[in-house]
Symmetry: C2
Subunit: 338 residues, 2 copies
């Protein structure tokens, strides 16, 4: 896989995380503390694609660790419906690697005009998004080249972790260990490759998580779609029982994201139900019995190494299905949505 | 289809909507006006399954027509993480036909304890949810029997329409026409049946909407999964271009929900792109050229007849695929999630 730009970027993530920590590890928690001091009524997050999954992560992070209600923006309200919600007492976060998505820029511009505190997470300091936001958290990736987002996703989660640590007013020592966790995650490669070869014939699958595992399920499913061309649909374990479980008996594979923490029991119970229905279960967890091993970590940080495990699995599933993960069918790196 | 309970409930929707209007058509807007008078910082909505799609509808309705920021609750924060977001200055809506989902009840109980205004939309006045909420909007369905939600979904949208009319302080004359729109929607049946027979062999499809068409796409996809056993995945047109479009060339059908309004242009453009990629496009709109015809309606009310069209299509696709829509594989009517 040495000639693959995508593989290079997957393997560069420990270094990217380390770089973020070195350059922004002090400033980002300070920014978070400043936001908390404004006592916002809520936090709204604007994002698209993988960045939207980072937004869902932020929803659990701000909720479970800072008791903040979080709304995901519907950018079309700001653009095609031209009716921005009232956000004067809110904090608005925007996430976009390229900073070029016009609808995300519009959410930030409107919120700032209304008096909201606005923060952009982006790799491009020269972007329209960076110009629109009051504060910018730079990702320091130096431009991601592969079409599928990898380092921009994990670095954004890491940046959010730093921001929320400051918002809580706590120094989170566990943040320092994350680059190392990312290195450990890369060790899944041989297992991911072997597993991929046994699953190559399946054209669809469910990816199931809950709590902090839910944004991980969203991101795995997107990578499996983009890279491997698999109809991978993400679900919260809770919602899956409300209908989609009807598809489970069809024999398609189901992947369960079992992060250590209070949500694990529920995901596991659902996994057992799926096995009883004859599903082909693929378990991702930090246990030795897992099909795909995620390094042990505090639950709120585990999504970072877990995302990397998913990237490697999707990479090898793409190869096993005869696709080139560096050139996903019909995708562009930057999508401009109005 | 005379022996089908589900069909009976699908066809009873005009009457159910009429009944809601007769019994709650005055009181629900008053309740909405009372909520607006509190000048809430935001609206949080707790729901699962089809009800969660009604919540997404409410997000567009409250956003586009009342400039309110809306957050969808992550119930696991209240239950398994035991960390409720601060909601004292918020309005919290809960949607559950049975009123029995413990996690939705917990969101409401916690919010009410914090001083938030709480409203339950439910068919069961004797439920835990109705007891937990300060205000109840009864759906007057007299108990939905088929496993798949039909009238409880459309009546909830209708109830939300009344609530938001009052929140805006306007009398919305268009609301009175909705039962008639629902009747017109039922006329799609022969077309839905004929189309279903040509699509029976496809095991997966994308369902694409935007703006008010997005919750419709969510609900169609769930019905196609539950009833017809099709891997139907819903997308916002905007997000679809950020990755999932990679799957379009695979030849699977794509359904576009093209409601009249400012979002239609974008969904149409995506439909044309999909056609160029060789997708089998199924267009749902109010135009004569549509594959599935939705009655003409104001955009904010169109999701009600559009949902009914989707129910009929899913019903006939189930039959065409040799499934009994009255007994979806492995589903229960009431799902209790903690």
């Amino acid at each position: 896989m040495s000639e693959s730009e995508l593989a290079r970027e997957i393997f560069a993530q420990p270094e990217a995380l380390e770089r973020f920590r070195a350059q922004e590890g002090a400033r980002t928690p300070e920014l978070g503390a400043g936001l908390a001091a404004r006592r916002p009524a809520g936090v709204m997050i604007a994002a698209r694609g993988s960045s939207d999954h980072a937004a869902v992560y932020a929803k659990y992070l701000l909720g479970a660790r800072a008791a903040m209600p979080v709304a995901l923006a519907a950018p079309s309200l700001f653009t095609i419906y031209e009716r921005a919600p009232r956000l004067a007492s809110w904090v608005v976060l925007a996430i976009s690697q390229s900073g070029a998505s016009p609808d995300v820029v519009r959410v930030v511009a409107s919120a700032r005009e209304q008096g909201a505190a606005t923060v952009a997470f982006t790799d491009r300091l020269d972007s329209a998004l960076a110009a629109a936001a009051e504060h910018v958290v730079p990702l320091h990736l130096g431009g991601e080249r592969a079409v599928a987002a990898t380092g921009s996703f994990t670095t954004t989660l890491y940046a959010l972790g730093h921001l929320v640590a400051g918002f809580r007013g706590e120094e989170e020592l566990a943040l320092a260990r994350v680059p190392e966790l990312a290195s450990h995650a890369l060790a899944v490669q041989p297992a991911a490759r072997a597993l991929a070869s046994t699953l190559a014939e399946h054209a669809s699958c469910a990816v199931i998580g809950r709590g902090f595992g839910f944004p991980v399920a969203l991101e795995w499913a997107l990578k499996l779609k983009e890279l491997a061309g698999v109809f991978a649909e993400p679900f919260s374990a809770a919602d899956y029982r409300h209908g989609p479980i009807a598809l489970a008996s069809a024999g398609a594979p189901a992947i369960t994201i079992e992060l250590a923490g209070p949500a694990r029991g529920d995901v596991r119970r659902l996994g057992r139900e799926l096995l009883e229905r004859g599903a082909r279960l693929v378990r991702a967890s930090d246990e030795a019995s897992a099909d795909l091993r995620i390094p042990e970590a505090d639950e709120w940080l585990a999504p970072i190494p877990a995302a990397i495990v998913g990237q490697l699995f999707a990479f090898w599933l793409a190869r096993a299905r005869g696709r080139d993960p560096d050139f996903p069918a019909g995708l562009r790196k930057v999508t401009r949505t109005l």
